[in-house]
């Protein structure tokens, strides 16, 4: 069995699965249960400054979208940072860390954008024995209205400034949590790096309205007839998170900065994808809020089995494995030609590929009287839509054409060499091929 031991910016944990700063990590009771279930680490629910804690709404704070059989696909929330007194959280953190010294415990922090506020809280956190801090520059609701959370995360200069304060006033590693509610994630990531961050974690939740109540004409979740945007998370946001992680991982200015991957991690496979795209570990929230802490057992066994099958003995060997293959569109090989192929033995004749191709794509699938569906190579551009809408896994595949064969669609011979848009004759700013 592969060793899942994780070392993230010097913070050790028995596996790379941490619980993200969120309701599951709001108090000692939950965190102890999480550790008993096998979680490698937790990022404690975000702490605020000393004094009266924030208050939450007293009505629904979550909204959701569902797939078949009410499978939860996306969750949004309007919950704020911890609404328990700072000293209570600190006391509990200390107690838990004392009892679970092998697990990672990170303190998420959000205080006003003033040097004194950060300087004041850091020693208290350090005193708990926490392994590191995560700066919550991400929450898009509530706290942002008060100039914190994503209001800071959307201004690279603030990120850099606060990160620098933290590095100045604590010896603990500093992880900067990034908001996806920006135009280009590289600006905040680079700012974190300039400020001296040890790592970034992403993504925080996405501004969202999950649904509109068509009887009361208000967004959900609704509080006394009104709703507000909340932070969206869960399986639905994973593709957005993967892209942002990959962008940071392959950007020369940030490529060497460790990343804690967050966003819709639900299974070991999701985790493995984040790791391959450059995350050093992952953080999970919605999946445990849906299924409970026990899912970590599947994540551990699944990742371990996968790594064994690939001959990998440590998590490091998987991290960044896919990063070299993430590129810009203009680097894609335009000489590569594939055609869809339908496995007639696997086909159940539902005709969805036909409807999709005929109505919305290239009219490249033929349907016979007896409902046999075949690809018309003369029309097929290998767009993959048929594969995506087919309900049978592996029934339709994209088969590359051999070099030297003639593409019946274009009449051109498939060229074995690589050529991309930068050298393409149709590109007005093409440079001549060497």
């Amino acid at each position: 069995m592969a060793n899942l031991q994780s070392d993230f910016v010097g913070i050790k944990s028995p596996n790379p699965f941490w619980l993200a700063s969120a309701p599951p990590t709001d108090k000692e009771y939950n965190v102890r249960r999480a550790f008993e279930a096998g979680w490698g680490g937790v990022v404690w629910k975000t702490l605020g400054m000393e004094g009266p804690p924030v208050v939450n709404v007293n009505g629904p704070r979550y909204g959701a979208i569902w797939g078949a059989d009410r499978r939860l696909l996306g969750l949004n929330n309007i919950e704020l940072i911890t609404d328990r007194p700072l000293e209570v959280n600190l006391r509990e953190m200390k107690a838990v860390k004392r009892d679970y010294p092998d697990r990672a415990m990170i303190a998420s922090i959000m205080v006003p954008c003033e040097e004194e506020a950060w300087k004041a809280i850091l020693p208290h956190v350090e005193d708990t024995g926490a392994d590191g801090i995560e700066l919550n520059f991400g929450c898009p609701h509530g706290m942002a209205e008060r100039g914190m959370g994503s209001a800071v995360g959307q201004v690279p200069e603030y990120i850099e400034m606060v990160t620098r304060w933290c590095k100045m006033y604590t010896r603990m590693p500093v992880i900067v949590k990034l908001t996806p509610n920006i135009t280009n994630v590289l600006y905040p990531a680079e700012a974190a790096k300039r400020g001296g961050a040890d790592a970034v974690s992403l993504i925080n939740t996405i501004n969202s309205i999950t649904s509109v109540n068509l009887d009361s004409f208000a967004p959900e979740p609704m509080i006394d007839g009104k709703g507000t945007h909340g932070g969206y998370c869960g399986p639905a946001v994973k593709p957005i998170a993967l892209n942002m992680v990959a962008e940071i991982a392959r950007n020369p200015a940030t490529a060497d900065m460790p990343i804690s991957g967050i966003g819709g991690v639900t299974t070991w496979r999701d985790a493995a994808e984040f790791l391959a795209l450059g995350a050093g570990n992952v953080q999970v929230c919605t999946a445990v809020m849906t299924y409970g802490f026990k899912i970590v057992q599947e994540m551990i066994s699944g990742l371990s089995e996968y790594m064994d099958s690939k001959g990998m003995t440590s998590v490091d060997q998987l991290v960044r494995k896919a990063v070299p293959n993430v590129t810009d569109w203009n680097q894609l090989n335009l000489n590569y030609v594939a055609k869809a192929k339908i496995d007639q033995d696997a086909c159940i004749s539902c005709g969805r590929c036909f409807a999709a191709c005929e109505d919305t794509s290239h009219q490249a699938i033929a349907m016979s009287e007896d409902r046999t569906f075949t690809v018309i190579d003369e029309e097929c551009v290998a767009c993959n839509l048929c594969v995506n809408v087919c309900p049978v896994e592996d029934c339709i595949s994209m088969v590359p054409m051999d070099a030297g064969a003639t593409d019946p669609r274009t009449g051109k011979v498939v060229d074995p060499s690589y050529a991309n848009w930068t050298t393409h004759p149709n590109n007005p700013s093409a440079t001549a091929a060497e």
Binding site: D69, C350, R352
Partner: protein, 444 residues
């Protein structure tokens, strides 16, 4: 001591009185909201879906299932009912495992089709339980049409004609409308008076008058003739079903205790107190179709100790679907194949019935089987009855196109007409299509 399942003879009240309701409750309890959503989510929304092709009434099944999945079951019901006005009954009695659900691509993929029949019932129940009738009549055409037979074919025809603006008179020999839905289908398939409920709901369209106690033919006292109907109306639709029953041709058939399965089913369906309905201890049903199964299963449900269904050919040749055969077996009915009745024994009343085993060519083998029997039900096919009918094709009224008969101005559909399976859903389709053809003919 009260009678029980061991008491010989034909006796009522073999079961505890409290047991009857459960015995005859819904075969497939209705889906609740969540079950319906889960079932609907399994539909792939196939292109030019095979289930539609397999449905004799061409219901747009993927569309109505999507309408259920998106929380609009009443819209789903309208999709169903616009093609099949008796979609509620068909959802209960259609052999879906041989029609839409057999064609479902998930049947091919997993052996587990989408529950089309139960979803259809979910949608139609949802609408009908609110008392909503979603169709309205077109402007009056001033034409009148006679429909003979208030079964699925006749009512379907009448509804469509009424919708198109014609006035319709429906004649039926029985004291109430519904045909086989009311008199000929096992009780557990349509419990709680659904057949009459559906008729009442259907008639909300307006423009349809029902006249019971009227049949084609001179003998009935209230006899109708095609000539008179033609004279009184602008068109005639004949949907009289198959009123006669085939005879066994076995010695001793006239003995007490030997009767037609259709009469047993009809009596059972009209019974208001099943505890008072007598049934034999040893019941033998002869036949291999749906009527035979319905009789056998209900005999068992009434408390018969031994119920044997005997059919002259193999299981694969039985008209009852494998699902129905399995249902019978699960209720404790024994099915004997390749045996034909040769004699009914007993002094006045049947005591035993004797069969000879036959080979695949129906040739006697000389091997005999005697079954104890205090009640025998014959279910070996029904025949067309009536005088002065249009030309026949074999034993049914010959039709071409959408139910046109040899007589100008007379259409026919349902079990009495040639072509198509003898199914409720087929009758509904034929009635509807004849109505459209009548409309075209009348409106030129």
């Amino acid at each position: 001591m009260a009678d029980n399942e061991f008491t010989p003879g034909i006796k009522a009240g073999r079961l505890e009185h409290s047991a009857y309701a459960a015995q005859f409750s819904d075969l497939h309890p209705p889906l609740d909201d969540h079950e319906a959503l889960v079932a609907a989510d399994r539909c792939y929304f196939c292109h030019d879906a095979p289930c539609i092709t397999a449905c004799p009434t061409d219901i747009d099944i993927p569309l109505f299932i999507r309408q259920i999945a998106t929380g609009t079951p009443d819209a789903a019901a309208k999709t169903i009912l616009s093609q099949n006005i008796m979609g509620g009954m068909c959802a209960r009695v259609c052999p879906t495992e041989q029609l839409c659900e057999q064609a479902c691509v998930r049947e091919m993929a997993e052996g587990k089709p989408v529950l089309i029949g139960q979803l259809q019932r979910y949608a139609t129940d949802h609408l009908q339980q609110q008392g909503i009738h979603p169709f309205t009549r077109a402007g009056a055409t001033g034409k009148t049409v006679a429909v003979v037979g208030a079964g699925p074919a006749g009512l379907s025809c009448a509804h469509r004609l009424a919708m198109l603006g014609h006035d319709v008179v429906v004649y039926d020999a029985r004291p109430k409308p519904g045909g086989l839905n009311e008199f000929g289908i096992a009780a557990y398939k349509t419990p709680n008076g659904y057949a009459q409920e559906e008729v009442d709901w259907l008639l909300q369209i307006g423009g349809i008058r029902i006249e019971t106690g009227k049949a084609l033919g001179k003998g009935s006292g209230a006899g109708l003739t095609l000539d008179q109907l033609k004279a009184d109306h602008d068109a005639v639709f004949v949907g009289v079903g198959l009123g006669g029953v085939n005879a066994l041709g076995a010695m001793g058939e006239e003995k007490d205790g030997v009767s037609d399965a259709v009469d047993f089913i009809s009596t059972l369906r009209q019974s208001t107190d099943l505890t008072a309905l007598p049934i034999g201890r040893d019941v033998v049903v002869i036949g291999g179709g749906m009527t035979a199964i319905d009789a056998a299963v209900q005999a068992k449900l009434l408390g018969a100790l031994n119920v044997t269904l005997v059919y002259r050919r193999g299981r694969d040749r039985m008209n009852a679907s494998p699902f129905e055969q399995d249902l019978a077996a699960s209720k404790g009915v024994r099915i004997v194949n390749h045996a034909v009745p040769v004699a009914v024994h007993g002094n006045g009343a049947v005591r035993e019935i004797e069969f000879e085993y036959v080979d695949g060519t129906m040739k006697g083998t000389g091997e005999m089987l005697r079954l104890a029997a205090d009640q025998v039900f014959k279910a070996i096919g029904q025949t067309l009855q009536g005088d002065g009918l249009p030309d026949l094709d074999g034993r049914k009224i010959a039709v071409t196109g959408a139910g046109r008969t040899s007589v100008e101005g007379v259409w026919a559909g349902g079990d009495c007409a040639s072509g198509g399976d003898d199914l409720t859903v087929t009758a509904v389709a034929e009635g509807r299509d004849a109505a459209m053809d009548i409309h075209s003919a009348l409106m030129g």
